[in-house]
Amino acid sequence: MKFGVIVFPGSNCDHDAFHAVTTNLGQKAEYIWHDSPSLGDIDAVILPGGFAYGDYLRCGAIARFSPVMGAVGKFAAAGGLVMGICNGFQILVEAGLLPGALIRNRGLKFVCREVRLRTETVHSPFTSAAQEGQILRMPIAHGEGCYFADGRTLDELDAEDRVLFRYVGNPNGSLGDIAGILNRERNVMGMMPHPERASDPLMGSTDGLTIFQSVLDAVVRA
């Protein structure tokens, strides 16, 4: 299969995501520049971590207006698989492709740390290779990763089985310990932790590969 990795000028985990899905997962990938009006011939798209346009305003607030986000929206509407990691999650939320908001960490500081995630649902193209309740180890690295939403949205996420991961030991104050979520159609996901940084034994964990493997399985099945 072929992944597309979106490159905003301030993306800085684009190379890492590319490396994870090519070298570590063994699939094809290509970079997609932020002013591209279309995504081209890809099976799934990754919005990587970083600081898309500097993020001096709210994280992702400017990125949602970039040309490529129109293409991502269309791709998602057509059922394409979309993964937002860290800054990518922030952008998807700003773009309205995922509900809620990501606000300053409760501790008001940037936090880089390995965390443990409990897999809340395996009924998604991003977690099908995991076990229900499986604990995945991978790092977080963000200053604005506190997931926030109104009560009704949180209830909906629960009721519709749309919470992908919850932190075991909440590092940033996220409501409901939420670390990653799905859209209603279950083809768009966002997560603050970095699976691409946990895709190589030398980096301390390969649990992130479970997520990329799930995407691969879903694409192959389709």
Binding site: P9, N12, C13, A20, F51, G54, F110, C112, A141, D200
Partner: protein, 736 residues
């Protein structure tokens, strides 16, 4: 033109003699703009006029050195067709005045130095010194400076996308009014793609790219070349504001533009801004550069030539392109949304000629401006001596260990490094506090780079020469402990006012000590930075030379600090070591338990140090060590505790055969010692014997707890959980 008034000359921190030299070079009185240009280029910060004479003593050549001092960064060949570029730089003065932006722009400056050479930055480390956090008078300010500096480094490095993988941080009253912020950066590029800051080819266009020029940072370089007074706060406007996103764009655009082949030379605009970049590029290439200031992109209206030339606005680059191929370069900058403007041309006459509205406002021979700066052989006498040995109260080992583990210098700095993204780029094989040296892998070659920063102001105050040697030895030992071979070094020399003979003596002795040790370990100095006048209200800092040494190793799972399994043999490579009351005065024990500094630093035997390092590298290479940690601040007991803080909390029972007093035995800081745990003690002993070093078996790892005995008598026994809590939580309680 008429002569400038003496007070105007003095304001520019130029002496009458220096002014005379300017007049002689020009053959006339300088214009106001020219006076400004000379003042920044001949400032201590840019010209190294007090230190240059002595810096020449440092070894700078080596088999692997591609580029030594004199460029934006040193370059080392790491094989496989790749080189690394690295350097350390200080941003002390700005960080005191405006901690957040001062530190942030310090990171920005050193990153530009690296990617100016064509290398993509892949690692940052920082060496920080602050005043006391708990002092009733200065504590609150010091905590604010610490918080601001760390947040500033995080802000810039995290956004830019370079991992901050390690560093060091300690606290002394002498840094109360003068914190040290030294930032090291390292980048990688293909050997044939290195770029130099050299102009060439008369008629080639000079192109400005990046942020617009504003009035910020004017006289930053001269500010960094003077002592602080009460008025220092008024200099806050001299500190620049960093924009890491702009820097990231510059990085990507410059690397891409370099690949077009249309760029002849490139230099960032750092200290002394446009002035420094134009005259240095011209001087290195033996050519002239003529620029028209009207074409310089400006953020503010009505800027004078003086202001434009001296501005230190951040995130700007100057490059010379091949004539006729400018469009290839502009196309790349447009793609990244960057403003680029042709502001001048390379000439044959060797002069820096600056026009404003067409009128020449400065015309100075490049070479004289860049290379003929005054050179001073400042008088140096003897470094200040420390006090005599005080009456030493006996402090029980049992009580002392938790105290030391919870002290600011020794405790975990997680509070700091968790604010840094230490993993971005997925190359961090060993980040903060996992190993003695940080390790980043090079994906392209299968090689990894290990990096260690070290400097000990206490040791250097007691003996600048010995202290500097100890810092070199410690860095090399840190690298060897992770199995890396040290290959090259960079240095940041933080000292007080060189016009005081006893301070100058510290500088001279430290450089000589560093030169001796770097030559001995075959780690040439490939660049660095000198920061003088680190004094506030006449109070100098400890002489604080900071070394950054890099080593190479094969990419592999690292041997980390913590013990892994119970029942392993614990061995102390290098032996228990020697100490006496005089050599005990620089230790953390002396600092925390006696509250004094006296005598001399620990004694270093270079030959023995080298043999210990050879041995540990061999032991690591043969896969014999399960854990490895060198003994440093706090000595054996602290190292032992740190080895026990792994996820499994495996501890050790050790029994030491020694005549030393218990507290000296546990806490002395003699170098050349490494604590390992191993399943193969006989093989380790054989290697130790081959390298003629002591390697006594001192004990065994155990499932629970730490116990230290001296000839079967227990000096202390601890639960690991309690010690770990003291170690892990101390910093946060100090910062609050």
């Amino acid at each position: 033109m008429t002569a400038h008034a003496p007070e105007v000359i003095a304001q520019h921190q130029l002496t009458a003699d220096e002014y005379g030299k300017i007049v002689a070079i020009l053959g006339r009185e300088p214009s106001y703009t020219e006076l400004g240009i000379f003042s920044v280029m001949w400032s201590e910060h840019c010209s190294y006029k007090s230190s240059r004479l002595h810096l020449k003593k440092l070894p700078t050549r080596g088999r692997l050195v591609v580029q030594g001092p004199g460029e934006n960064a040193g370059i080392i060949d790491i094989g496989g067709g790749y080189v690394i570029a690295f350097k350390i730089e200080s941003h002390n003065h700005p960080s005191f005045i405006e901690p957040f932006q001062g530190a942030a722009t310090g990171v920005g400056g050193i990153l530009r130095d690296i990617f100016t050479m064509g290398a993509r930055p892949i690692a940052v480390l920082d060496s920080l010194r602050f005043g006391r956090l708990d002092d009733p008078a200065t504590g609150a300010r010091n905590r604010r400076i610490l918080g601001g500096v760390v947040a500033g480094i995080a802000h810039y490095g995290n956004c830019f996308g370079v991992p901050t993988v390690g560093g060091e941080c300690s606290f002394e009253p002498c840094y109360d009014g003068n914190p040290l912020v030294n930032v090291f950066a390292l980048g990688i590029c293909r050997k044939e793609e290195v770029f130099y800051a050299k102009a060439a080819g008369a008629g080639n266009p000079v192109i400005y790219v990046g942020a617009r020029t504003g009035r910020d940072g004017i006289h930053g370089a001269s500010m960094a070349s003077a002592e602080f007074t009460e008025e220092a706060k008024q200099k806050r406007p001299n500190v620049q504001v960093g924009d890491p996103f702009m820097e990231k764009l510059l990085l990507e655009a410059c690397i891409e533009a370099m690949k077009t082949g249309a760029i002849v030379g490139i230099q960032d605009m750092g200290a002394a801004g446009l002035t420094c970049s134009t005259c240095e590029m011209g001087s290195r290439g033996g050519v002239g550069i003529e620029i028209e200031l009207d074409r310089v992109p400006q953020r503010e209206t009505g800027m004078t030539p003086y202001e434009i030339m001296l501005s230190e606005s951040q995130e700007r680059m100057l490059l010379v392109a091949e004539k006729g191929r400018e469009e290839e370069v502009y196309r790349v900058f447009r793609k990244w949304g960057l403003e680029a403007a042709e502001i001048g041309v390379v000439t044959e006459d060797g002069k820096l000629r600056v026009r404003h509205h067409g009128v020449v406002v400065a015309e100075i021979p490049n070479r004289e401006l860049a290379d003929e700066a005054p050179l001073y052989d400042r008088p140096h006498t003897h470094p200040p001596r420390a006090g005599l040995i005080p009456d030493l109260p006996v402090s029980k080992v049992q009580r002392t260990l938790p105290t030391l583990l919870g002290s600011l210098d020794i405790c975990s700095k997680r509070w700091i490094w968790e604010q840094y993204d230490y993993q971005v780029r997925t190359n961090t094989v060993a980040g903060p506090e996992r190993t003695d040296a940080a390790i980043v892998r090079i994906k392209e070659t299968g090689t990894s780079i290990a990096i260690s920063l070290d400097g000990n102001g206490r040791y250097c105050f007691l003996s600048p020469r010995e202290g500097a040697k100890l810092a070199v030895a410690e860095c090399c030992r840190n690298l060897s402990t992770v199995g890396a071979r040290p290959v090259a070094a960079t240095n940041c020399l933080n000292f007080g006012n060189p016009e005081r003979p006893e301070i100058m003596a510290q500088l001279v002795e430290a450089i000589e000590g560093m030169a001796e040790a770097c030559a001995f370990f075959d780690t040439p100095i490939t660049g660095g930075n000198v920061s003088l006048y680190n004094e506030t209200l006449g109070e100098g800092i400890y002489p604080t030379p900071v070394l950054g040494i890099v080593g190479t190793l094969k990419t592999a799972e690292p041997v980390t600090i913590p013990f892994k399994n119970a029942g392993r043999t614990v061995m102390l490579l290098g032996g228990i070591g020697e100490c006496d009351d005089i050599r005990f005065g620089g230790t953390q024990y002396a600092k925390e338990m006696v509250k004094q500094l006296w005598g001399l630093p620990p004694a270093l035997d270079l030959e023995r140090e080298r043999r210990v390092q050879f041995a540990i590298r061999k032991i690591i290479a043969e896969g014999l060590a399960e854990s490895a940690h060198d003994l440093s601040d706090g000595g054996l007991a602290v190292a032992l505790a740190e080895c026990s803080f792994g996820p499994n909390e495996v501890g050790a029972l050790i029994d030491l055969d020694s005549d030393l007093r218990p507290e000296m035995l546990a806490f002395h800081e003699a170098p050349s010692r490494i604590l390992i745990s191993t399943e193969f003690p006989k093989k380790v002993a054989a290697i130790a014997e081959k390298y003629e070093i002591e390697a006594p078996v001192v004990g065994v790892t155990i499932e629970k707890g730490i116990e230290i005995r001296q000839r079967t008598i227990t000096l202390g026994a601890w639960e690991i959980g309690a010690l770990k809590t003291a170690y892990a939580q101390a910093f946060e309680s100090h910062v609050r």
